[in-house]
């Protein structure tokens, strides 16, 4: 599990509006260079917040990403 990378990406999605827009337009391409497992990558691409949480993504990040918040 790439807990660090997962949470770094979630934090960036929260704070970096340009990155967030790129991700929403093309998540797979935006994460192409990210050091994620296949399971993590698919959870991001499908934006499965519960899966990301199960994989170590922090709740407070998952609920607070503008436009993606799983609250």
């Amino acid at each position: 599990m790439s807990r660090y990378e997962t949470n770094v990406l979630l934090y960036r999605l929260k704070k970096d509006a340009v990155f967030r827009d790129r991700f929403r337009a093309d998540p797979r391409r935006t994460l192409a260079d990210a050091d994620l497992t296949d399971e993590e990558r698919e959870a991001f691409v499908r934006w499965d917040a519960r899966k990301l949480n199960d994989l170590g993504g922090l709740l407070h990040l998952l609920i607070s990403i503008p436009g993606l918040g799983a609250h």
Partner: protein, 281 residues
Amino acid sequence: MGRIVYAAAMSHVLYPDYYGQNVGPHGRRMVEDLIAVVRDMGRTLVATAPDALVVVADDHLNVFSFDAIPALCVRVGRSVNRMVQDDAIEFDRALDGLPERYPVHEDLANVILEKGMQSGFDFAASWSAPLDHAFLSPVSTLYGDRPVPPLVPFWVNCFVTPQPTAKRCFEAGRHIARVVAEGPWNVAIIATGGLSHFPELSLARVGQSDPVFDRRIVKLMEAGDDDAMTALTAKELHESGSHELLNWLVLLGAVSPARARVRFFGEMGRVDLAALEWDVA
């Protein structure tokens, strides 16, 4: 010789719209009742005319990134900004319209930091961290339109494993009490957050609280049972959703052996709300 002139702890999402949207009219009414109590507590706080207000709270992954998560952090510098977050979550809409900048009590913050280093508390220092709802929702409710005294924001890592222990947080509070006693200032201290919510920090369990746990810990604080409070384990805090009690443990250390007086306790379901004061005069 300085002294702690006021001490209180309270839930920190003092924003009726959030509960109205996520819980319904019952939640809105309960937090409105809490807000009325906190405003009344503010009148007591203002009457003590503190030179500084120490605010112990946590970061909701708003301020500290995964570059570095401090276990315990003192905000130093001369002023501190309100956090700005585009499309903020409802929690932080409580910040809308508040002043953009607040004074920091630079001397007290520096002494807490420097004497910490001399006595085994290597706190992190931040010159730039802004304040989110955990700090400013209670402060703005307590003070309303009145001037806010210089702040000493103090962060506890409540959410990113491994967190500091309950005992360590309590001891950090003892350190703050010693610093205050050795200094020239009258100091107020508040801790914010809780009670139980977001058990296990699980998205699947958002909406649950642990009222049995909350009733127990409130009784312990009323009894001044610091031994039981400092014996709380990371597992207990995590499973019940009481991560933010670590903030309260810093305050307990600062005011020990004072006993808490319950000003508000409400079981909402999604979160249990509380406001307590300690008789420190």
